[in-house]
């Protein structure tokens, strides 16, 4: 990694861009926010962009002959272009959704709606005997829609297992990914383990058997440079609120020629070409997938957020994340009563670090940390099968964003040291 992490001065300036970071919690303690994997804080300029949009141009987009409507459309489309640039795709390949979950459902329904509508493109057909491949480390958002798709179509769901170390076990990939596999959906980065998956290797293997690839990029988009073209995936989903933008907006990126073959998911206004009482035809992508009034203000906010990330430099964001992750993993390794669930070295790993304290439930760990002003996630993090695989009910997870610092890692470790005594656990 050649890029440098942020200096102390840079970190201070970055933190100043997030107004919430200056607040205190639990009787005046400084907020140490280590839950950005669940939702990140909003950068001031994203909020400014939303407010400016609402106060200055608010109007229906893609319709109306007045000036406000033109300007509103311009801002909406400028946000689309910014996001396309950020992800390495074309403007017309970016679909705005409500969140990444909707993006993934949009894709799953493209398959079953194709089957129901007898669509011509064989890539989108799915029937008994066909297979959908996922991994054991998926967030429920990239698992349940595929389970449901298989139930609707009679296809079979299979999954790539996870090793004890917390990486994909690709030993049997050859027998899991076959001519029967129509779609391979996997995460770029595990939201629990922090593992960065070998996307290029997986997409190449999928291509070799003619399977489409769907990437859950929710946890990678805020941490790593993202280039969908270079990764070789067919479709990718990510979420605004995990990358300094607002809730209520997600993105589906898809190769245009594939989006063109996909039937709509949600139908209604704005997504049509012609409508007659007998039936309708549909607009070209991305409008085909944006039925109804879009979440323009949130899209504009997300556009500002990705511009901010690009100004920080995603290579530097990644370098900074690397330094924080290394410090946390080192600190946890010095505490033998803590067990990390996920890779314990920083190779192909980002700053989502889940762990268990022997003899203390994750909820109780989180409560003690909260008492010290440290916000972490506890539970199964919407990855229940993965927790089962590691034989734990719940873990505590610290996850970083560009605004976190080494000082905050130290506060977390200090707060963790209080856990054993509170619960009378020997260390």
């Amino acid at each position: 990694m050649t890029a440098a992490p942020f200096s102390a001065g840079e970190s201070a300036r970055i933190r100043a861009d997030f107004p919430i970071l200056s607040r205190t919690v639990r009787d005046g303690k400084p907020l140490v926010y280590l839950d950005s994997g669940a939702t990140s804080h909003r950068v001031a300029r994203a909020l400014d962009a939303e407010r400016s949009y609402a106060e200055e141009v608010n109007a229906a987009v893609h319709r109306g002959a007045h000036q406000l409507s033109e300007e509103a459309t311009d801002r909406y489309e400028a946000a689309r272009a910014a996001i396309a640039g950020f992800a390495g795709g074309r403007d017309d390949e970016v679909v705005f959704t409500k969140n990444a979950t909707e993006s993934l459902n949009l894709v799953a329904y493209a398959f079953s709606n194709s089957v129901a509508g007898q669509a011509k493109d064989p890539r989108l057909g799915l029937r008994e005997g066909d297979e959908v491949l996922v991994t054991e480390m998926e967030h429920h958002a990239n698992l349940v829609p595929w389970q449901e798709l298989c139930r609707r179509t009679g296809a079979t769901l299979r999954w790539v297992p996870v090793t004890d170390e917390g990486r994909l076990d690709l030993t049997d990939l050859g027998s899991l990914l076959t001519e029967r596999t129509k779609v391979f959906a996997f995460t770029h980065v595990s939201n629990v383990l922090g593992t960065v998956n070998p996307v290029r290797e997986l997409t190449a293997a999928a291509k070799a058997v003619g399977a489409l690839t769907v990437l859950d990029a929710c946890q990678s988009a805020p941490h790593l440079p993202l280039d969908v073209g270079d990764l070789g995936v067919d479709l990718a989903a990510f979420s605004g609120h995990k990358m300094f933008g607002p809730t209520g907006v997600g993105v589906l990126w898809g190769r245009y020629e594939l989006l063109e073959q996909m039937p709509p998911f949600i139908t209604g206004g704005s997504m049509i070409e012609t409508v007659r009482m007998e039936g309708s035809t549909y607009a070209a992508p991305p409008q085909r997938f944006e039925a109804g009034s879009p979440n323009v203000m949130q899209a504009v906010g997300l556009g500002a957020a990705v511009e901010y990330l690009e100004e920080l430099g995603m290579d530097r964001v990644a370098a900074h994340d690397h330094v924080l992750t290394e410090a946390l993993l080192d600190g946890l390794a010095q505490r033998p009563w803590i067990r990390v669930v996920g890779p314990t070295d920083t190779t192909d790993r980002v700053g989502a670090v889940s762990f268990v304290v022997d003899g203390v439930h994750a909820h109780d760990v989180g409560q003690v940390l909260d008492d010290q002003g440290v916000a972490v996630r506890v539970g199964h993090h919407c990855a229940w099968p993965l927790h089962r695989r590691f034989r734990v009910t719940a873990t505590a997870r610290a996850s970083f964003a560009a605004y976190n610092t080494l000082d905050e890692v130290a506060v977390l470790l200090g707060a963790l040291d209080r856990v054993p005594s509170v619960f009378g656990v020997a260390v």
Binding site: A362, H363, V368, W384, T393, G424
Partner: protein, 173 residues
């Protein structure tokens, strides 16, 4: 931290009446879907209506200190009591836990349950403290005891403000 009273920690380390026992009239399995905590709980009752007596509550929990301790207190407080008393105790616990700290709890009614008063200030943990209690009332309903009769207010079901949405699976033995 005022949340982790000594009583709670004691109950969580050595939960009273733990383990699944025979005989029982109903067994339920409740899950807190946000964190995956689980409780399997059995009740054994004798008699009918709200005068029936809770002879046994046995359980197996997989959860945090709050949910384990609360289920332990539940067993202490309802075993040997009538269904009517048990439901009053449940209502008193629920009322305290969902009060956001305004109801300190009635020790006469809920015994060691008063140690959970601090939980009410942490809305995310109220679900943990209520997990066993919700399982218990569900099990009572499934046990065949008609607890809807009697002099007291029968509103022991989830009220809309109760922040709990248990995924339930139950069976009647």
């Amino acid at each position: 931290m005022d949340l982790y009273q000594e009583l709670i920690l004691e109950h969580s380390k050595r939960p009273h009446h733990a383990g699944l026992r025979e005989p029982y009239d109903a067994e339920v399995h409740h899950v807190n879907p946000t964190c995956g905590d689980e409780v399997t709980l059995r009740v054994h009752v004798e008699g009918t209506g709200r005068d029936a007596v809770v002879r046994d509550v046995s359980y197996d929990t997989l959860g945090c200190s709050i949910s384990t301790a609360s289920t332990s207190v539940l067993a202490d407080e309802v075993i040997g009591h009538t269904v009517d008393e048990a439901l009053r105790t449940h209502e008193a616990m629920r009322s305290m836990l969902t009060s956001r700290g305004t109801d300190p709890g009635d020790e006469e009614q809920i015994g060691d349950g008063v140690a959970f008063a601090g939980v009410a200030k942490y809305p995310a943990r109220v679900k943990c403290a209520l997990l066993g209690w919700m399982a218990f009332t569900d099990a009572l309903n499934r046990s065949g005891v008609d607890n809807s009769t009697g002099a007291t207010d029968p509103t022991t079901d989830l009220s809309p403000e109760t922040p709990l949405s248990p995924a339930t699976q139950g069976e009647t033995a």
